[in-house]
Symmetry: C2
Subunit: 261 residues, 2 copies
């Protein structure tokens, strides 16, 4: 079986944000769906063994997007497993535009947890050499490594409750939903002339329905922000780094008056 699977999508009406760019939420959901479909086609999307049920959980993800597909345009997400080690596996993605030009890259680290104990399991014990035929080390996924994220700020910049529609089949807040929460913590006018070109997420603990999340944020350079989400108890939910850049004028829709060229 081939090592890389590719999935082509169209930016349908309402897959975009108010500027007409594919939204981070839809991109993120498709990235997760590609991972699940790729693993499912090879029989390792989930595992039942000796009466235990095991699930993949996303431990870390970093996205870099050079440019964004816009409404009506197609894009193709390709994914493959690069490596596995004792408790984790690295999965890469690239995003190509309609012309086949790579416009984005995604690097993820996953763990497999026991659905009852929620503890990570040794992958070599669960799978033996099952992964070996699928490992693809040659295809590039050149992406700047994870940052060291620290937020000294001790007053939350925002608070937000979790609801039914945030919860996925694993009965916890969906990992991509935190990205939308974080983007929502910036003022909407930040997105008029700027766009988010890189997001890092490191997940620390799960949250459920009806929890109140606190967002601690601070700038970490010209265009970078570091964010930590915590529960009311002080427990850390995730760490994130978000990078903005100026939107190129030819990528604007109705917003041309502040263009840079």
């Amino acid at each position: 079986m081939q090592k890389v699977d590719s999935f082509t999508y169209t930016v349908e009406p309402f897959d975009d944000d108010f500027t007409g760019r594919l939204s981070w939420g839809v991109l993120g959901k498709h990235v997760l769906a590609c991972a699940e479909n790729h693993a499912g086609a090879r029989g390792f999307d989930r595992l039942e063994k000796d009466g235990h049920r095991y699930l993949w959980v996303l431990s870390r993800v970093v996205f870099e997007m050079d440019e964004w597909p816009r409404r009506g345009e197609t894009y193709t997400i390709s994914t493959w497993v690069r490596k596995y080690y004792r408790f984790f596996t690295d999965r890469c993605f690239d995003v190509a535009n309609a012309e086949g030009h790579i416009i984005g890259r995604v690097f993820t680290i996953w763990a497999m947890i026991d659905s009852e104990t929620r503890r990570p399991q040794a992958l070599n014990e669960l799978f033996g050499h099952t992964f070996d035929p699928y490992i693809e080390m040659e295809r590039p996924c050149d992406i700047r490594p994870f940052s060291r994220i620290r937020v000294a700020q001790d007053a939350p910049a925002a608070m937000r409750q979790t609801y039914y529609s945030d919860i996925d089949e694993n009965n916890h807040v969906n990992s991509i939903r935190y990205i939308e929460f974080i983007l929502d913590a910036f003022p909407k006018n930040m997105y008029e002339n700027r766009e988010v070109c890189r997001i890092e997420m490191a997940y620390n603990s799960e949250t459920y329905c009806d929890e109140m999340l606190q967002f601690f944020m601070e700038p970490a350079g010209e265009e970078d922000w570091h964010i930590v989400i915590k529960k009311g108890t002080g427990e850390t939910v995730c760490h994130s780094a978000v990078t903005f850049k100026e939107t190129e004028t030819n990528n604007h829709k109705n917003i041309t008056e502040n263009g840079t060229d």
Copy 2:
């Protein structure tokens, strides 16, 4: 050109809610996308005339779902225009499962507004007889008419802020997003053994980013709820009626202990 267009979708990973059923948010977004794609293919998705730009806005919608596609299953949404009159046009949809059996129906009423004044325009003046060849009156869309929605309750049951990710290309909160907000106003355990089988929405005024919405709710029968969303100013945003029913056991995933057969 044919009168009815059909679009087939698959319930991708994370298109479902925590019970494994296609989520209302994804269904609603696809219904809007089908309307836009059907109108676009016939050249009446939007209009520019005499320096004015006109947009379709959804005035009312009622959805009835007899059963739900589940993750991995395909479903087909078909749409057609049933009628137009001075300021409004009626558009119908049906939803078929993979076997072609109709499992849902959607009835919508749309107005075309001037993008500047936000006022509805006389459709016969804008379009003349442009619609006539596309009117489909024979295909059934049998759906119980709109309810008279009244909520006497004057204390909000919930409050909720609007954010960047709620806003669509029309720069207002997306009409389907209110459905998710309303479903989120019920406790999550309502969805464990029950499902929402009918939703009505009547839209009264737009909301934008960073508004605080108030939800007034009361029961209107065994399985029916009436909901009114208002702004902090007291202005009404929309009226809604939501109907639950018991989920049939063979539609359950992991939740079988309270089944009814």
